[in-house]
């Protein structure tokens, strides 16, 4: 089935040790998003790619970076994780037709623990 896949599902890292989370999609969607969701909170948009165009939210810390090498894959890099970065990280996609409004389809998330 076409879907949004996130690997790994659970990631443990040490304070300050760089970590990369992966997202892939078989939907051939133009737009890919990364959200951070802390416990009992709503998902918070970090950034999104419209095709190759990167769009950063104004309040996303510089510690968070992203790469999209091709349509199918998108990576979230946390350069120096702090304890406050422990959260669920959700990847989502949407078709991204210009001028239209799209549903977002979410992956299962990666739970990041920072020790």
């Amino acid at each position: 089935d076409a879907m949004v896949i996130q690997n790994p599902r659970y990631q443990v890292t040490q304070f300050g040790k760089p970590v990369t989370l992966s997202c892939s999609q078989t939907l051939n969607h133009n737009v890919m998003y990364w959200y951070q969701q802390k416990s009992s909170q709503a998902p918070k948009l970090l950034f999104h790619y419209y095709d190759k165009d990167f769009n950063n939210e104004a309040d996303t810390p510089d510690n968070f970076q992203s790469r999209r090498p091709n349509t199918s894959f998108c990576f979230l890099d946390i350069r120096s994780p702090g304890l406050g970065d422990a959260a669920m990280y959700l990847c989502a996609t949407s078709r991204g037709q210009r001028g239209s409004t799209d549903t977002q389809y979410f992956g299962p998330g990666t739970r990041l623990t920072v020790l």
Partner: protein, 112 residues
Amino acid sequence: AQSVTQPDIHITVSEGASLELRCNYSYGATPYLFWYVQSPGQGLQLLLKYFSGDTLVQGIKGFEAEFKRSQSSFNLRKPSVHWSDAAEYFCAVIYNFNKFYFGSGTKLNVKP
């Protein structure tokens, strides 16, 4: 400023009882509204969405929602809740093309 309010943080209902989860939005233009469900440790699954047309929309798992422009509401309903419906429910509105704004969520607990 755009916002989505889910006034109920936690709701407990008995299995078989009816359910209504409230969602109010603040948005100047025509809203595009969504309900997502999140089971523990999982991603978000789309239940239903409203873009235009009939204000009563049907979704998966027996859920429905009604858009009421006069009340700026998009409440989610289900006539008979099952134990498997226990989860967290998020209302969302699209603004600025493809950017979602989520409500803070309502956690549903189902009593046997």
